[in-house]
């Protein structure tokens, strides 16, 4: 079944296509980063597993191919929606398992989005396509809500200290940003509560739909842009961006 049979020429179709393009960017970055980082990453495999030059080269080729497939999704999102997403999912899954350790949150979100978008046009009935799309939406809601609740349980997050400590790390922040967060306790606490409220409220805004959901999604994108720029976690922006677009598309179907 072709993607357009289910999606048609609608706002929903356009949003899903956009989600596929953004997922393509996430794949492109994931694949190319893996290809570049593999020689270093291979050292961290469990003792006894192969880390020879041939193994590394073979996996670098696979990771580069994954990146190129992502680039193809960006140019033509129908490739992703017509099953290409499933191929990409299998490769991402294999690389995450083969490389040990498993991937991070950006990889998980990417796999979730690819699973949903990949089966969207392949299942034999529109009802099943809708089911797949809803699964993505539910998983995106769970991801945000759970992240928010986990933060709320921690005192350092409620006081705002955790954000300041994170950006004060040479891994996740610049000295300039760290100084601002450490020096302005109220601002830091406000930021922490903004992040927690945004994450916990995801299911509420999904139920509300319409402009409130769009406004919430815009704020979420702003948060991810901030995380990408300040903490250097760019892959999360693309993977969760694709998840957010899928969320909006699913809500538009109702």
């Amino acid at each position: 079944m072709d993607a357009e049979l289910f999606l048609g020429e609608s706002t929903v179709a356009t949003t899903f296509s956009l989600a596929a393009r953004v997922a393509g960017v996430a794949l492109l970055v994931t694949g190319l980063e893996l290809a570049a980082g593999l020689p270093g990453l291979a050292r961290w495999r469990r003792p006894g597993l192969p880390v020879g030059r041939r193994w590394i080269t073979a996996h670098q080729i696979l990771a580069t191919a994954l990146g190129l497939l992502g680039g193809w999704f960006v140019v033509d999102p129908r490739v992703c929606l017509n099953g290409g997403g499933l191929v990409a999912l299998l490769v991402v899954g294999y690389l995450m398992v083969a490389l040990q350790p498993l991937g991070d949150g950006a990889d998980v979100m990417l796999v979730i989005v690819l699973a949903g978008l990949g089966v969207l046009s392949l299942v034999p009935s529109p009802a099943l396509s809708r089911w797949a799309a809803w699964l993505v939406a539910v998983n995106v809601c769970v991801a945000y809500w759970w992240s928010g609740v986990a933060k709320l349980r921690i005192r350092a997050w409620r006081h705002g200290r955790q954000i300041a400590l994170a950006v004060n790390s040479p891994r996740f922040g610049s000295p300039w940003v760290a100084w601002r967060f450490l020096n302005h306790a109220k601002f830091t606490q406000l930021t922490a509560w903004g992040v927690m409220t945004l994450e916990v409220s995801c299911p509420v805004f999904f139920v509300l739909g319409g402009w409130p959901l769009l406004a919430w999604a815009f704020c979420a994108v702003l948060m991810h842009v901030g995380v990408a720029l300040i903490m250097g976690l760019g892959r999360f922006l693309w993977a969760f961006g694709a998840g957010l677009l899928s969320l909006v598309a699913v809500r538009s179907m109702v």
């Binding site: 980063e33 893996l34 050292r43 499933l86 350790p101 949150g105 986990a150 349980r153 891994r171 100084w179």
Partner: protein, 205 residues
């Protein structure tokens, strides 16, 4: 036809995963999932745990570095030449990291192993050589210091030893200096060689 069958399989798996992710909110289900073994892992650890974004364990500041000891190491009489400490991963924040950060994954692995090392009692001056995290880190250090031959085999200079240390960094703005909380025993540098008997673990600062 193959595509449809594949799509069905994925849809079923995706549905099962979603159901499990939602069910794991319930404490009894969560406990049950933690008990179910899938090889070395548990069913719960296979399911992505979004709560990790809260970083409750503060895994931001654990730095692993290593150095080589050149020459013989023979009890108290030996005087091996230590080289400078080198970081095991390089993942410092730079302005382009939002776009491109290939070192992130290896650093993530180093943070997890370093955390496991502390959980295993590294900070309490225990002998850690039986600890899986210690062995994994030692293997990484060996691979890092090894040279690859043209045939793809790894070779290390014989007679050399490697040591790694775990330091706790307090970040950019602090009056407290970086604190070394664990130093490993000298381990033979060769890939896959057993630890030399008779060498006592040197723990401390």
């Amino acid at each position: 036809m193959i595509g449809t069958v594949l799509a069905w399989c994925f849809l079923l798996l995706f549905s099962a995963y979603t159901a499990a992710a939602i069910a794991s909110f319930a404490p009894p289900v969560d406990r049950w999932m933690r008990r179910q073994r899938l090889g070395a892992a548990t069913l719960r650890s296979v399911l992505p745990f979004w709560g990790l974004f809260a970083q409750r364990f503060g895994m931001f500041d654990l730095d692993l570095s290593y150095r080589r000891l050149r020459g013989p190491l023979d009890g108290a009489r030996a005087h091996p030449e230590p080289e400078a400490w080198l970081p095991l991963t390089d993942n410092r924040w730079r302005w382009w990291c939002w776009l491109w950060r290939p070192g992130q994954r290896a650093d993530q692995a180093s943070q997890i192993l370093a955390y496991r090392l502390i959980s295993g009692g590294a900070a309490a001056n225990r002998d850690m050589r039986g600890d899986p995290a210690y062995q994994r880190i030692t293997a990484v250090v060996r691979r890092t210091t090894s040279r690859q031959t043209a045939a793809g085999h790894e070779m290390s200079p014989s007679g050399d030893y490697v040591v790694f240390r775990l330091a706790l960094s307090r970040g950019y703005w602090t009056t407290v200096p970086t604190q070394t909380i664990f130093v490993s025993a000298p381990e033979p540098a060769g890939v896959g060689r057993p630890a030399r008997p008779g060498l006592e673990a040197r723990h401390g600062r």
